[in-house]
Symmetry: C2
Subunit: 363 residues, 2 copies
DNA sequence: GCATAATATGAAACCGCTTTCATGTCAAGG
DNA sequence: CCTTGACATGAAAGCGGTTTCATATTATGC
C-alpha cells in the first residue's frame, strides 16, 4: 500500500506549517489568499485527502453520520436510504450504517454506536416508538433526527408526513367514490402513525356524516399476515354487514388482504374496494394494483440529512439537559403525500363510478 | 454530552497503565489473568467502549468495512446488504456505506474512500466491470471482495454464482417443457454475467440438439425498458418465426417484457413462455408470476463479509506488488442457485403443456 | 514615525488508542 | 547465590489531524 499523504507532507511541500494546512482544509478565513492557493494546489497534486478518523479524533466531532435502520428488506427502507445516501453525497460526510437486523435491543445498539465515538450524530429510521435511551441522549445534546414515526408530542427533530390528513384523504377518496360502509385495518397501537391514520379515518367518516361502526375496525400488525387475517374475518361477516370498502393502514397488510381476498373469491374492487398506505414498489404490481397514499420516502431521506446537518452546524445544538427556559419544540419537517389512484379502489372502472355518484346524490 | 470514558480512565481505576488496558482490549496473551479480570470488570462497570476512530488511527488498521454499493433501489441490493449487515453484526466491525448514487466515476469514489483512511478493506457490490483503479489497489494489498460480477479471469476475491450453469438450467427447463424455438434477451456485453448467461443458453440449446438462431437473441440493458423493447420486437416478427419461449437475462427486463407483452395482447405463457434470472421480490408478484433463477443474495452478502474478514486476518494479506512467484488465483466463492418455477414458463398449466407437446410433435 | 490593532503563521499540546522499548519481577538453571 | 530468560507491566512515542497560544508581519490611526 502506498504510504498515505499526510497533512505534514503537504505542509512541508508548501513550506508552511501543519496548522496552516489545517486552516486551509477547514476553510478558515484567516489564511492569505496566496498561501491558500499554494496549499490547495499542492494538495491537488499530491491527491491529498484528509483522514476522517484523525480529524474526528482531534476535532472532537466527526464527519460520520450514524444511520440506524430497520432491515433493508422492509420495503420502505431502500428508498429512504437512497435519499439519505444522495443527500450525504453532496456533503463531506459519510454514512456509518447500523442495521438493526437481528432482534437486538435498540438501546444496546445506540449505546454501542455512540460509545464507538465514530459518529457524532444520528439519523434514526424507526417506525415505532423511540427508546428512552435515545431521548435521553438527544436531550444531552446529541443531534438526532428521526424519520417517520413520532411520539405524541414530537420529542425529537423529525421528518415525516401528516398521517392523519393522509388517512383522511384516503378515506375521503373512498367516500367520494360512493362507498358508505368503510372498514379500516389499523396498525399496532404502539405505532403513533397507526393511531393517526385511524384518527384520519374516523374524521373522514364524521365529516361525511357516515356512521362509525366499531365492528368495521380491525387490528393489524403492519405485516402481510394480518392483512390476510382481516380478509378472512371480513369474508365471514354476513353479507349485509360487509363493508363496501376498506382503508388499510399500510400496503404490506393490503397485499395480504388482496391475496387472501382473491383466494376467498372476493373480487376487488367490485365486491370490496381497497385503499392502502405507503406506496411501496410492489403496490403498482400486485393484482389488482393498489390505490394508496404515496409517502415520499426518498425526499424524507434527503430532508432528514439536511435537517441533521443543519442541527449539527446550527447554533442551538446545546439544549442543556433539564434546561427549562425558552423551550422550543423540536423541528418537524412534514412532507406532502399524494393519493395514487390505481385499480383496487374501483375509481378506474368508470361505469361503477357513475353508479356511485348517483347513490351519493341520493344522500 | 457525558464525557467519554477513555482508556486512561480505565487504566487509572484499575491501577494499571494504558498499555495494559490496551493489551486487554486486544486480547494479547501477555497479561496476567488476574489483571485482565480486574480491567475487564472496570470496563464493564464504566460502560467503556473503545473509540474505533482512535484505535484505527493508532493501529494503522481500522475496524470499518467500506461497502460500495449501487443505489439501493436496484432491487438486488437490499437483500445483499441485509446479508452483509447481518454478518457484520457478529463481528466488531462496522459498515461504512458508500453508495454510488449519482453517476460519479467509480474511480473517484474508490479513491476518496481509501484516502479518507477510515476503512482498511472494501466490499464491492458491483455488477459490471471493475475499475482498473480498484484492481491496482487490490494488487497493492488492499483487501477487497467483490460480489457478483467477475472479469474473465477472476481478478479479485469474489462471491457469486455460476451464471453459465444457472442460465443453462433456465434454458433447459424451457426445453424440457417442450419449447423448441427459444429466444434470449441478453444483458449488456460489458457485464461478464451477461456473457456467461448467454453461453449457458447456447450450451443448453446445443446439448438439446436444438438449432441456434441468431435472430432470436436480443440485446438488452438489464433495465425494464429494454424488456419492453424486446417484446415489441418479438411481436413484430411473422408468426412463423416467433419463438415459443424466451430466457431473459434478468428479472428487471422480464418485467418490462411481461408488461409490454400484455399490452400487445401476447399471452404469457400460452403464447410465449418466459424465464427470468435473479428472483427479486417483485418476481413473485408480477402477473403472471415469473419463473426465474433465484440468486442467493442474502447468502452472498454474508459470505462476502466472511471472506473479506478472513482476508483481513489471514496471513497472505501481503501480495507484494509485482511479486511473481507463487501466484495463486483469488478465492472465488460460488453459491448455488435454484430454479423457481412459477407461472410464466407454463409448467404449472399442465393441460396446456400437453397441448404443446402435441404441437411439438407436429413440427 | 510610532503605537496599536488586525492579520497570517508557526510551535506545541492534545484527541484516545497502539506499539515499541525499557524495566521490573520471578522461576529455573548452574 | 547469582545468571538467564520468560513474563508482566509501564513510559513514551507516535497515528494525522485540530486548536490554542504566541509570534511575526502588515495595515491603520494620530
Amino acid at each position: 500500500m502506498k504510504p498515505k499523504v499526510t497533512i505534514e507532507d503537504i505542509a512541508r511541500l508548501a513550506g508552511v506549517s501543519k496548522a496552516t494546512v489545517s486552516r486551509v482544509l477547514n476553510e478558515r478565513s484567516n489564511v492569505k489568499a496566496e498561501t491558500r492557493e499554494r496549499v490547495l494546489r499542492i494538495m491537488q497534486e499530491q491527491g491529498f485527502v484528509p483522514s476522517l478518523a484523525a480529524a474526528g479524533l482531534a476535532g472532537g466531532r466527526s464527519r460520520l453520520v450514524g444511520v440506524l435502520t430497520p432491515p433493508f428488506t422492509q420495503p420502505t427502507v431502500p428508498e429512504i436510504l437512497r435519499g439519505v445516501a444522495e443527500a450525504i453525497e453532496h456533503t463531506d460526510y459519510e454514512i456509518v450504517l447500523y442495521s438493526t437486523n437481528a432482534g437486538q435491543s435498540p438501546t444496546t445498539i445506540v449505546n454501542r454506536i455512540l460509545a464507538l465515538g465514530l459518529t457524532s450524530c444520528l439519523l434514526v429510521i424507526q417506525p415505532g416508538p423511540l427508546t428512552p435511551r435515545l431521548l435521553q441522549l438527544a436531550s444531552q445534546g446529541l443531534p438526532v433526527v428521526v424519520i417517520d414515526d413520532q411520539g405524541p408530542p414530537p420529542e425529537l427533530p423529525s421528518v415525516g408526513i401528516d398521517n392523519r390528513v393522509s388517512a383522511y384523504q384516503a378515506t375521503m377518496h373512498l367516500i367520494r367514490l360512493g362507498y358508505r360502509r368503510i372498514a379500516h385495518l389499523q396498525g399496532p397501537a404502539e405505532f403513533r402513525c397507526a393511531q393517526e391514520r385511524y384518527q384520519g379515518y374516523r374524521q373522514a367518516l364524521d365529516d361525511a356524516g357516515l356512521p362509525f361502526d366499531p365492528a368495521l375496525v380491525f387490528n393489524g400488525t403492519f405485516e402481510t399476515a394480518s392483512g390476510r387475517a382481516c380478509a378472512v374475518a371480513l369474508a365471514t361477516l354476513p353479507l349485509t354487514e360487509r363493508p363496501e370498502a376498506i382503508f388499510i393502514a399500510n400496503d404490506q397488510m393490503a397485499f395480504g388482504f388482496l391475496s387472501a381476498a382473491e383466494a376467498l373469491g372476493l373480487r376487488i374492487p367490485q365486491d370490496l374496494a381497497v385503499v392502502g398506505f405507503d406506496d411501496i414498489p410492489l403496490s403498482a404490481h400486485v393484482r389488482p394494483t393498489l390505490t394508496t397514499i404515496k409517502q415520499p420516502f426518498y425526499e424524507m431521506g434527503r430532508n432528514a440529512v439536511e435537517l441533521l446537518l443543519s442541527l449539527l452546524h446550527g447554533p442551538a445544538t446545546q439544549p442543556v439537559a433539564g434546561a427549562e427556559g425558552g423551550y422550543q419544540p423540536p423541528i418537524r419537517i412534514q412532507l406532502p403525500t399524494r393519493l395514487v389512484i390505481r385499480e383496487s379502489c374501483g375509481a378506474l372502472t368508470l361505469h361503477r363510478r357513475q353508479e356511485q355518484e348517483h347513490s351519493l346524490s341520493d344522500e
